[in-house]
Amino acid sequence: MKNLIKGKSNLWEVVLGLEVHAQISSKSKLFSSASTEYGSEPNSQVTLVDAGMPGALPVINEYCIRQAVITGLGLNAKINKKSVFDRKNYFYPDLPQGYQISQFQHPIVGEGFLTIKTEEGEKKIGITRLHLEQDAGKSIHDQDFENTFIDLNRSGCALMEIVSEPDMRSGLEAAEYLKKLRTILQYVGSCDGNMEKGNLRADVNVSVRIPGEKLGTRCEIKNVNSIKFIQQAITFEAERQIKLLESGEQIVQETRLFDPNKLETRTMRNKEESHDYRYFPDPDLPPLILEDSLIDDLKKNLPELPDKKKERFINLYKLKEYDAEVLVSEKDVSIFFEELVKGREPKLVVSWLTGELFAFLNKKNVSLAESKVTVKKIADLIDLISDGTLSNRQAKEVFEVYLEGSKTAKELISEKGMAQISDEKELSNLIVSVLDENEDMVKDYKSGKDRLFGFFVGQVMKLSRGKANPQMVNKILIEKLKR
């Protein structure tokens, strides 16, 4: 068995489950018509419902229901035609209602699964459920020594909580799961998957056991907000638990917080202090009954999902599996690719997209969408390579300047005097003058000194200041030397 962690006396298996909160990309909130826009003035997007004013009644956003269902379909999950909203009761300053409207016993989406890639091949990760709930407001603790500041703009935004089965066995698998989930959310369009903005947040349940034994006591690690942090948090937490167990101690079930600066987890609250939420059906909201027609409609219009798209790319464009995987893992990129590849050589397109363009985006630390690079911009450059105007090497040289500037590819290369000479007549003239100047060498070549061919090519390149199209020089040179 792989992925086992070596302790002092035993090999341990780490068992992981994820609870992911994904904010639905809706314009208005789950139960109120306040805007969900990010980064607005504090408390400027708060209706009476979001502020928990007595008597203000929640009315559900139909779009959010559709997004939950479509996400469920994307996760191969059972859609529950009847679901119920409950109140989850606790007191916290950023929760003005004194309860969160959530779904407890009857979630809108039941069991499903997704598949991830592991070293041993594909692996199915079970989804336990997906339910709809309200987000809380934002507490800001670091603005003031004595006070906490509260902004309720996020209060009431629609979240999907997606709970996985404890099916993952390594930090890497957990990372793959989260990446795949994020990709699926982006494909169905229910959540943008932006972890920096907090639109996708993950809590990780970690426990360890000796393989084959029953599940160990788990700890929940809260709000680990990047894929890298998730792996680090899991590594630390698994080792902490193993150390405790091997020294004869027990694991206490508790909620822990990951500190990315110290690379450790620490107690946030333990089970005894943990809340007793006293869930009960929200008397303001009748059960949600989904019509068959709605589910059928969404099923019919379900966008192509990443696995399907990958398969299609491999078959249609003859891509390598790895390249196809890279292209489909971001929806934007896959759409960009399909636009770009129209009428162009897939191999060339893939290499420019996943090579040069990705390197550029990484260097600038922006996403494809943020970079504002257009399909046309890349297409123009690739076309100049395809028709021989520009060599690959030349294109790479100007790539960054080209992407950042407003000049067209043609303008830029003529300005830089870069255009490759591919005109047969012009090349012929260059070659003839090189041969004329080196009559002796030509004689030697014709009498069998084949190695001199490279010398002629070199001279032609020198004369053209590197602009001659090498393939064509070769071709013409062979002809000329035959005579």
Binding site: S33, N61, H106, I140, L285, P286
Partner: protein
């Protein structure tokens, strides 16, 4: 089910309501009376009855995903005992 003083304490803690310790007995007695009264419902045979999810016999009303609101930051903050730069201000809460 029977409620003793420790449950009364727990409930008061959860609901953030202060109950004087000399009224715990009385509170426990009142709560037990309510529970005993409701308990008679247990006698009804519900074996073949589907659980009732809500007593509201109506469909969930739906809303379009439209932003309908004015900026009411001033109104929202109007009841706040303390506010600063558009935020509610509360005593420090640290997890």
């Amino acid at each position: 089910m029977s409620i003793d003083n420790s449950i009364v304490k727990k409930i008061s803690k959860l609901s953030k309501l202060k109950i004087k310790s000399d009224s715990e007995d009385k509170m426990a007695e009142e709560l037990n009376n309510i529970l005993n009264w409701v308990e008679s419902l247990q006698e009804v045979n519900t074996e073949k009855v589907e659980p009732l999810l809500s007593v509201l016999n109506e469909k969930m009303p739906l809303r379009d995903d439209k932003v309908v609101m004015d900026d009411n930051q001033v109104d929202i903050l109007n009841n706040a005992p303390e506010k600063k730069s558009g935020f509610f201000v509360v005593p420090k809460v640290v997890e």
